[in-house]
Symmetry: C2
Subunit: 502 residues, 2 copies
């Protein structure tokens, strides 16, 4: 049945998606190639574009078209109905945001993020960025209040990254997780103490060109076509773009090549998800990725479940790492596997092992909630950060660059985002448990450097579903049960009992 | 005096400038880093953005604001009045273009240009791009007719790149130029024949990294701050951006390093102009560069008057070329100077010497006019091109990549643009004649690798004038007389009589 309202609505939403993707490319440019002095004018350009998008997204015609499409006799099929539902969700959200707030948010996030980047690079004190972050946090709170003055602000923010998720829901996952993780750390405490991991042996001086070769290999291994993607360098790795142009960035450190290796796996996983959303629905809501948690499930699948799998590493380390980075010839495969997977507290979240990583996120989740609730001030962040790091992980933060300045999120206005990383762990280990039933030989595949069967499973069961289901429904659809932290703890226990032989 | 209409108009025009500059960055991305499969969706994004810009530029409110500002009691100062005049010029032009034509033009130019790039790279036959170019030419003609159905189409197109210029005006410059150039070629025919230049000695294998070092040196020599600019690689060199973010591209050929050297001088000259428009007027019309002819005068000043000056080369060649590209150690300075300046017909315009270059442009000017007048068809372009190349320059084109496919302009819809290159030669030699009166030691400065005095003169007298004057008025303002081809011929005669000692 032809529905002129739906067609018009589709057309307008498609245009909006093109505009927001143009914005994304302009952000990508800021963080990869833009000359530094260009930041102020770029901030203005993005604010103008942001206002235009906001005006288009909130114009009353769209509201009317949505109402028309929601009538019982609309004759829309289930996919079309889902599109209308998702567009309505976005439209309702956007109409609640005053235009000037959108402009102020865009401008401030561009400035704060850029200044954060410089502060981190120059290892400056947090104090230098504090006034900008204060403005950012106030704007984020203003945003939450505008979206829903009746709900707790933090829940409002969470919902933007993980539809229908609440702080209480996260708590219900994170509580057993925290317990399980602490138990696990204790279980291997002695084994770790007997044979203390020396992660400094991974810190080899590797020319950037060699590191780029490895990144290229990883992209190819993951099945990401070079004519639809690219790898650039940025201070903080990220993935952007959609449909046939999805780009990742990594950060090559001269003296620490595993950073770029695993950020390439991670961002490559994100890129794979974006590239494999259902092509027939691209530029409509159903053709999008559904949530940051599911996004992280895919990136962390590539990074951890695949990239740090001991059987995969028996292939990857000699055939790729040692081949392209001969400086690793002096380090044997088993030691690499043990060291890269070592349960050892790290100051930096993105370099943490799969066990302690969760505590990094739980720490941020706790701080974020208190920050938004006004229980702590921006100025207190470094002290609270450092204290919690010592309490949870026993590490002493020496300067803010390795502490509260390490992640871009808060400076970019992304508060309520961090929990999605651990949701990703919870989701993907549950996906793995299901996948193993149809691909019991999944590890043998990895052992010969073949990701294709696993990739196809992820594409078919997760990525190609786009936004047909909300996250919890998607997990239900794939695994026949809602998300359950048990699978992640099982995964960790199985993995580490094999590594430590306990 | 406060004029609320002017303030509102300024604000809206500033926003438009931000939007069109965002478009420019998205085009830059296509030609530098975009994954190739992204072209179709990017074309759509740019078309949508183009339509939004067009709608904003043509909305009736802007027309009304302009009318209000044009009232005799507006109280505007002369700069403000000039802004209104220029905005009215643009607004009148834009309102004549139907929205759908703008969209079709944007889409088609993205596609044609991208396919041209591939065709050229793969050395494919012109036939492969012919259908796309046919569509492009028809759209350009449709554009000219919409802008002014009463004026010759080619004059309408010319006026967009060089305000107030006509084909007859160009003819009046090009006729004496053609005669003068042919005379000059004859004058040195014997000298050239006695000592035939061997340009193949310049074709050395030079690693791209070394070439990048030289490009970097040139940018620094020209006084272009790295935090406001950058150099990337593209199939066809170009400059884009404005205010504090102006980027150039060059094309590094493994076996022909002078190509990148001189395109860096050329594009660097363009960048210098953009960066030195009057900052207090940025994002208003007066703060813009005035025309492509004046633009080319600056780029070709850097490329030829400076970059190929024998006294400058006595410094630049040993201290830069030979230093960063040791493969040149076997070639002495005098031979380099003679060879780089040799009057010798080339197939490729951008590699031509300063004398024969003009014939390349005259050829394109003649073909363009006939193409737009319908005297020749798109399909005939390769044959006519090749025949004229043989007639004017005595060279035989072997494949379209070195013939009609060599330049991007027509494929990007830029018809009427080529003459501005030679206008640039005419303008800048006249500027030079004036500059020499205040900096008689200009060549001594170049001889010690110092561009600063010359740069300051260009900034003060040309670049910092922005769009206060139309091109001919600007030349009048600087040189106290209208453009005159005589100065360019004098410049060529002086230069070559010194090189050939005749």
């Amino acid at each position: 049945m032809v529905n002129a309202n739906y067609d018009e609505l589709s057309k307008q939403m498609k245009e909006l998606r093109h505009l927001s993707n143009s914005q994304s490319i302009l952000y990508w440019d800021i963080r990869t190639y833009m000359p530094s002095e260009g930041i102020e004018q770029r901030g203005q350009s993005l604010a103008i574009l942001g206002r235009i998008i906001h005006e288009k997204a909130t114009n009353t015609q769209i509201g009317e078209l949505i109402s028309q499409c929601n009538k019982s006799d609309s004759g829309l099929d289930s996919i079309q109905k889902r599109n209308v539902e998702l567009w309505k969700r976005d439209h309702d959200r956007e109409t609640k945001l005053p235009s000037d707030l959108v402009v102020r948010l865009t401008k401030q996030s561009t400035i704060t993020e850029h200044k954060w980047e410089q502060a981190k690079q120059k290892k400056q004190n947090f104090a230098i960025i504090k006034p900008e972050l204060e403005k950012m946090v106030e704007l984020v709170k203003e945003r939450a209040r505008a979206l829903d003055p009746d709900k707790p602000m933090y829940d409002v923010l969470l919902d933007e990254y993980e539809p229908k998720m609440t702080a209480a829901g996260i708590d219900s996952y994170f509580k057993p997780l925290k317990e399980g993780v602490i138990k696990l750390i204790k279980k291997y405490q002695d084994a770790v103490a007997d044979n203390p991991p020396n992660t400094t042996i991974l810190k080899k001086n590797i020319p950037v060109d060699q590191q780029k070769q490895v990144s290229k290999w990883i992209m190819n291994f993951l099945g990401i076509p070079p004519n639809r993607s690219r790898v650039d360098e940025a201070e903080h790795p990220f993935t952007t773009g959609l449909a046939k142009d999805v780009r990742i960035t990594t950060h090559y450190l001269d003296d620490d090549p595993t950073g770029a290796i695993y950020s390439t796996f991670h961002e490559g996983g994100h890129a794979l998800y974006e590239l494999n959303t259902p092509e027939e629905h691209w530029f409509s809501a159903v053709g999008e990725t559904i949530s940051m948690g599911i996004h992280e499930s895919q990136s962390r699948f590539a990074e951890n479940i695949v990239g740090k799998n001991p059987i995969f590493l028996k292939y990857f380390y000699p055939k790729v790492v040692q081949k392209y980075m001969p400086a690793f010839n002096s380090l044997d495969t088993d030691t690499f596997i043990k060291t890269i997977n070592a349960i050892t507290p790290s100051k930096i979240r993105i370099y943490a092992d799969e066990v302690t990583y969760n505590l990094h996120v739980i720490l941020r989740f706790e701080i974020e909630q208190d920050l938004i609730a006004g229980k702590i001030s921006v100025g207190e962040l470094p002290d609270i950060w450092n204290a919690k790091m010592e309490e949870y992980l026993g590490v002493k933060i020496e300067n803010d660059a390795e502490g509260v300045l390490q992640d871009t999120h808060w400076y970019a206005g992304l508060i309520g985002y961090f929990p999605t990383y651990v949701l990703g762990n919870i989701y993907n280990s549950q996906m793995l448990a299901t996948m193993r039933k149809s691909i019991p030989e999944w590890e043998d595949q990895l052992g010969v450097g073949d990701f294709s069967k696993i990739r196809n499973w992820l594409v078919t069961n997760v990525q190609n579903k786009g936004s047909i289901y909300d996250p919890i429904d998607l997990i239900n659809n794939i695994c026949n049960q809602p998300p359950d932290t048990k699978y992640f703890l099982d995964y960790l226990n199985e993995k580490y009992s094999r590594i430590y032989n306990i």
